[in-house]
């Protein structure tokens, strides 16, 4: 009887506590992303590496590919550069928390959804920086004639958005693995397949090759599905 009274008291105390709303989760997500960006801009560990790698790969591709083929295969090459850069770069958002042992502190103060949102937003910010620098350089290196600039920007941005969502969500699953750098691409590539093919098709269309019918819509729908799955599973993924 006494234990029952005690439990009722406990539940009442907890019920009165502050409950996280969606607005609070979004606010916390923005705070986590801002914190990550501040740390990144101070240490420049990830961004410098990502930019250097992107520019180096683009330069090597532009020197190796014959000019006659450049326009046709450049969409795939551009996407390959983003893939190489993103696979290593986007997983850093979670890896840094694990390596510095701050993820436990974050879990004490923020909801799993806010943590995931924060990492996605932070990676999106990285993506925009990389995209803004890399895209003009890549176009110049390959001397590409853009038939539909808005389609090109939409394709690259939406493709990267989907990539960031999938990479951010999956990196949490491999962070404690000893072979995490190898494991991430293995589980990431199959899930990225629809995004890769749709984005390459849309970029090709922007350059005047083929049609991008429904490619952008497919990327959007796929990204939305992956985002929902990620938010539904993040609590399980974050707790050992």
């Amino acid at each position: 009887m006494e234990l029952k009274i005690n439990l009722e008291n406990s539940k009442e105390t907890f019920k009165n506590s502050y409950k996280d709303t969606i607005a609070k989760k979004i606010e916390d997500g923005v705070r986590i992303a801002t914190k990550d960006l501040k740390i990144e801009l101070r240490s420049k560990n990830t961004l410098n590496f990502m930019l250097l790698f992107a520019l180096l790969t683009s330069a090597i591709f532009s020197l190796s590919v014959p000019a006659s083929l450049a326009a046709i295969i450049s969409p795939a090459l551009l996407w390959l550069v983003f893939l190489f850069v993103g696979i290593n770069g986007y997983s850093r958002a979670f890896l840094r928390e694990v390596d510095e042992k701050t993820l436990d502190g974050l879990k004490m103060a923020a909801s799993p959804e806010a943590i995931l949102l924060g990492k996605i937003l932070y990676n999106l910010m990285l993506m925009f920086i990389i995209e803004a620098i890399l895209l003009p350089i890549f176009i110049a290196l390959f001397d590409l004639q853009i038939k539909d600039p808005s389609l090109l920007i939409s394709a690259v941005t939406l493709g990267n958005l989907g990539f960031v969502i999938v990479a951010s969500s999956l990196s949490i699953l491999v962070i404690k693995s000893k072979a995490r750098e190898l494991l991430l691409p293995v589980i990431l590539f199959p899930l990225l397949f629809p995004i890769i093919t749709s984005t390459i098709s849309a970029i090709s269309s922007a350059l005047g090759f083929g049609s991008a019918a429904n490619s952008l819509l497919l990327i959007l729908i796929y990204s939305a599905v992956m985002l929902i799955v990620a938010f539904l599973t993040i609590e399980e993924a974050l707790t050992e």
Partner: protein, 228 residues
Amino acid sequence: MRMTKTTVIEIENLWKRFGRRVALRNISLEMEEGEKVAILGPNGAGKTTLLKILAGQLKPSAGEVKVFGAKPWKKVELRRKIGFVSHSSLLYRDLTALENLQFYSKLYGLDYDTKKMNETLELVGLYEQRNRRVSTFSRGMEQRLSIARAMLAKPEILLLDELTSGLDLEGRNSILSHIKKNFRDKTILMAGHDFDELEEVCEKGILLNSEIKSVGSLEEIRKSWEVP
């Protein structure tokens, strides 16, 4: 009418396994509001694992664990009521001491201004170093900031894992007196090896070695703990 105290921690038949290794074996424990209990035991006894489960960092392999009637790994609102000081400071090394506290206070939903932050930093003796990055801190300074972080939200429960490790005598005394003064009516579970330190805060103890070996006053625990 009989006054009943709130049960804040309930553990029933808790097991925790890491692969084949059993870290905690059939632990049952109940703590009421305001109780202060020390957990003692050799290295690898499961003290940190137990605290991590209560802090919602780990899930039990079997058994029931409830804090304020709910599973701590399920509710962040509940975890915010727990102040957790662990082996690692849980601080961002590229942020300053003040930025770390500001970041955490916002996540905790606290409306603290810089003055309040500075008071907290003063309390742990880090006001002068508030604008220094944590990466430049000594182990003791980091631990003091970690304690400030854990106590920021005025938690209902304190889980303290080797609280004063890395602190000098002055730092140790100041932190212990702060806890005794400001957390008098809070529930504290404190793991460590230093009987004198544990005796300053806790009224009873648990001797743990994967399973609960004995429960009693710290003096009784001291006697029952056969040091090899």
